[in-house]
């Protein structure tokens, strides 16, 4: 819900006007050389002043009272003393420091266009700047197809960047020239040192604190997205401990013809004694006219179909609650079934696996099961010549796999999941889908202390013998039904595969019309035609997901006039 904009140029009003949907202007910090404005709810904006040093915080950040002293003594330690999702802008002398929280709970995009530095919570504010170019970055489209999001710091648009989680930018106010982000949040340097028993107890304590810390923002009757999976069920159990009467849980389904997890959610509701449970039906005929609004609210192209249920659920929950708890974070912090895929990839020593120096990167992208293998077929040869495929696709992963820290392979993969998927897909997506309906996300599993803990516990507390999130299952044994603790990971199964053949068929065909595609020269319309018909030479595939990705990209491109 909160937002922030800053510039060393004259266009602060332009930036804030484009963010007005996030709420009224709250606080300003300005000098001759820069201007910062926060927007949103009063409780999500704080200012600290001490002589020349100034700090403005946007988001759900809790900072110690002596934060300015700490920042002045040691910038990185000062930032590490803050807690919670948000953006901090700190001025000392001729330096302006712009920092993003360690977990990546709030996004920030920036540009150095026109000789000035400008940043904002959403790209659309930067696009409103005079003379801001809207050139598509070809390599970013390949990234979008492989990852379903852009892993940063470059974005889909030339000259606009996204600040990585746990990083800051240092801007020289005299000469605001482009500079690289610097990391300040280092969970990867924590070596596993806790025993299994200590790990479980510490998790219980930290998780309880994380939920309690967020509770005051939830209003008198906390709300929760309860999918029926392990992560949101753990949040439900923790909330139900003291709030079972006032807690409202919300689950969704896509109609009786499609599989759902309502029974699992009901089990949790019954087991935890939650008194107010709501089940919401999501159907294409109800949301299809709002797809453009959803893509506008997403702000950048995100091809994950789960954005849709986030958006639709938020529209209902936002009518009664100021904020909503969710279970986001469990996968990138404590589990994720794809980790086994990457581990077992090393076992057999296949020549094509071991002899390619980038074999881990390739396997990671392949395990994502988006459209990595589709890129050479889907993009026209002319468009593919505009970028270096290996650099764009594997490049963002190589620094993680090549680093000496963390020492465990599993933790390397988890770090990638947190820094890329967590900070550039999951959290921006959820935050923006909720903000569109005046809701704040409360994600206790994405707490910085939980992230730090995940690197301090034995890695086998996360994954073992085909099971994931072992520590969470141990911590909630007896507090959740065994069916929830023992069931395999499912994920939210949005039935796009069926929708694209039925209810959304004509809609997607219209958006992906051959005439339009031929004119643009980006996608090979013959391949798109095969996907639309659900008939390729490779046999059945994830057609629905691929069409959803193409559709959201085309809608985004058209809406933002790229």
């Amino acid at each position: 819900m909160s937002a922030i904009a800053a510039t060393t140029g004259p266009s602060i009003l332009t930036l804030t006007a484009a963010l007005r949907h996030r709420g009224p202007e709250l606080q300003n910090l300005k000098s001759e050389r820069y201007h910062v404005t926060t927007l949103g709810r009063q409780s999500e904006s704080q200012t600290f002043l001490n002589g020349e040093a100034k700090l403005i915080l946007s988001g759900q950040i809790s900072a110690p009272l002596d934060i300015l002293d700490r920042l002045q003594k040691n910038l990185k330690e000062g930032l590490n003393s803050c807690h919670g999702p948000g953006i901090a802008i700190y001025q000392t002398g001729k330096k302006l420091i712009i920092a993003r929280d360690g977990a990546g709970g709030r996004a920030l995009n920036y540009t150095f266009g026109g000789g000035h530095f400008s940043c904002a919570s959403e790209t659309k504010a930067l696009l409103a700047l005079p003379n801001q170019l809207r050139n598509l970055r070809p390599g970013a489209l390949a990234q979008f197809l492989a990852y379903s999001f852009i892993p940063g710091p470059k974005t889909m648009l030339d000259g606009i960047f996204s600040l990585p989680a746990g990083s800051y930018l240092e801007i020289n106010l005299d000469y605001p020239t482009p500079t690289d982000p610097v990391s300040w949040f280092f969970p990867e340097f924590i070596e596993p040192h806790l025993t299994k028993e200590e790990s479980t107890e510490t998790f219980q304590t930290i998780f309880q604190h994380a939920v309690e810390r967020l509770l005051p923002q939830a209003g008198p009757s906390p709300a929760l997205f309860l999918s029926g999976g392990l992560d949101s069920s753990c949040v439900a159990a923790e909330l139900a401990r003291n709030h079972r009467d006032s807690l409202h849980s919300y689950s969704l389904h896509f109609g009786e013809n499609y599989p759902h997890e309502l029974n699992h959610a009901r089990d949790v509701v019954a087991f935890c004694g939650i008194k107010n449970h709501h089940e919401i039906l999501i159907r294409p005929k109800d949301f299809i006219t709002r797809l453009h609004d959803m893509v506008e609210a997403l702000d950048e192209p995100i091809g994950d179909p789960v954005a849709l249920p986030n958006y639709e659920l938020a529209s209902r929950v936002g009518q009664n609650h100021p904020a909503v708890f969710n279970g986001e974070g469990g996968d990138p912090i404590f589990g994720g079934p794809k980790n086994f895929n990457l581990l077992l990839h090393h076992w057999y020593g296949l020549p094509q696996h071991c002899q390619n120096p980038n074999h881990r990167e390739k396997q990671y992208l392949s395990s994502y099961r988006r459209a990595y293998e589709e890129i050479s077929r889907l993009l026209t040869p002319e468009f593919r010549e505009l970028f270096h495929e290996e650099e764009e696709l594997e490049g963002p992963l190589t620094p993680f796999f090549g680093a000496s820290q963390p020492t465990h392979f599993l933790n390397k993969v988890m770090l990638i999941n947190q820094r890329l998927k967590g900070a550039h897909l999951i959290q921006p997506k959820v935050e923006r889908m909720l903000a569109a309906h005046k809701l704040r996300p409360l994600s206790p599993l994405f707490d910085e202390n939980i992230i730090r803990l995940s690197f301090a516990i034995p890695p086998t507390c996360k994954l073992l013998g085909g099971h994931e999130k072992i520590i969470m299952k141990r911590a909630f044994a007896g507090r959740l039904p065994s069916s929830i603790l023992e069931r395999p990971k499912s994920g939210m199964r949005v039935p796009v595969h069926f929708w694209m053949q039925k209810e959304m068929k004509s809609h997607v065909r219209e958006i992906l019309s051959p005439r339009q595609l031929k004119q643009e020269g980006i996608f090979d319309y013959r391949r798109v035609k095969q996907l639309l018909k659900y008939k390729t030479e490779e046999g059945p595939g994830r057609y629905g997901l691929r069409l959803w990705m193409l559709m959201t990209f085309q809608l985004w491109k058209s809406h933002f006039k790229v």
Binding site: F340, L344, G349, Q363, L410, G466, P495, E538, L545
Partner: protein
């Protein structure tokens, strides 16, 4: 033969090389068969699968049979109705006979016999042409390098699949079935050898780890158990018999009933097989039951994406 315009040297001479007496083989068709076997470069395939794909291209077209059949009937009736010469009636009769022959040919699934196909493959390879995706078993002879990280083998698996042939192990591993299902795949006799110690330690850590037996219809599971040296107390036979294999529509089109009785499981296209096997190890239902009931539309794992 050499192409005059681009100097491409052809491997096959359609006048001499055929996949059936009525289907000449040329380089383009051979490449189409490779493409079919690999699902347009998506999968690795075994020699059995390559042969199965060749049989697909050797089939007479059912539509063709129907056209010839009805043309013969029409010609014959026209001859009778318009009282044209006996020659026309005779011509119609011959067409009718040909159509019957072609239909029988179709129903019997005429394609190249295995030995004949193997000769054609060798001819292709002799000209130093590659067959991308074709697995030459046994392929898993060298262990992986020492990895920089020490925890690669620390997290266990969901189960172990024991196969009766190295070809089946190679087929599944090259197509990454092990990474997708979190399983260790070996033969009962211990191929690949460099993973035996790992299998032993996994079983020592988790004595009740599921161990599935995956075998051709012609292999007795008991013989696999006898050959297995791993400390396993309970095996789960995935249970694929020749009757089930014989009933699969896709194989009926390619092989005669006699041939189907001796087919190996890798005659089934990978996508269909892997979807069935995934379902099977997740639910405990027999592989034969899943394939036989056509419960896998080969899109099982992707229905929601």
């Amino acid at each position: 033969m050499v192409c005059k315009s681009c100097s491409y040297e052809f491997v096959f001479d359609p006048k001499v090389d055929t996949i059936t007496p009525s289907t000449p083989l040329h380089d383009h068709l051979f490449k189409k068969i490779i493409n079919h076997a690999s699902a347009n470069g998506t999968y690795h395939f075994t020699e059995n699968q390559f042969h199965s794909s060749a049989r697909h291209f050797g089939q007479a077209s059912l539509l063709g049979c129907a056209i010839v059949f009805f043309a013969a009937i029409a010609l014959f009736l026209a001859g009778v109705i318009f009282q044209v010469t006996a020659a026309a009636i005779l011509g119609g009769f011959f067409l009718f006979v040909i159509s019957i022959g072609t239909t029988v040919n179709f129903l019997r699934g005429k394609g190249p016999k295995r030995n004949h196909w193997d000769r054609l493959v060798r001819k292709w390879l002799k000209y130093e042409h590659q067959i991308p995706g074709l697995i030459t078993s046994p392929a898993l002879t060298r262990p992986p390098p020492q990895w920089q990280e020490k925890d690669i083998y620390d997290y266990g698996v969901s189960g172990i699949i024991l196969c009766d042939r190295p070809e089946t192990v190679d087929w599944l591993v090259y197509n990454q079935f092990h990474t997708q299902t979190n399983t260790l795949i070996l033969t009962a006799e211990g191929y690949p050898t460099y993973l035996i110690n790992l299998a032993e330690s996994l079983l020592a850590d988790t004595p009740d780890l599921p161990v599935w037996l995956l075998h051709d219809p012609g292999t007795a599971p008991e013989s696999m158990k006898k050959k297995c040296t791993l400390p396993i107390t309970q095996f789960i036979d995935l249970g694929l018999d020749s009757e089930t294999l014989s009933r699969l529509t896709i194989l009926k089109k390619r092989f005669s009933s006699r041939d189907r009785a001796t087919l190996a499981l890798d005659a089934i296209p990978y996508r269909t097989f892997s979807a069935a096997l995934t379902h099977c190890i997740a639910t405990g239902v027999l592989l034969g039951s899943i394939l036989g009931a056509n419960a896998t539309d080969s899109d099982t794992d992707t229905s929601f994406g």
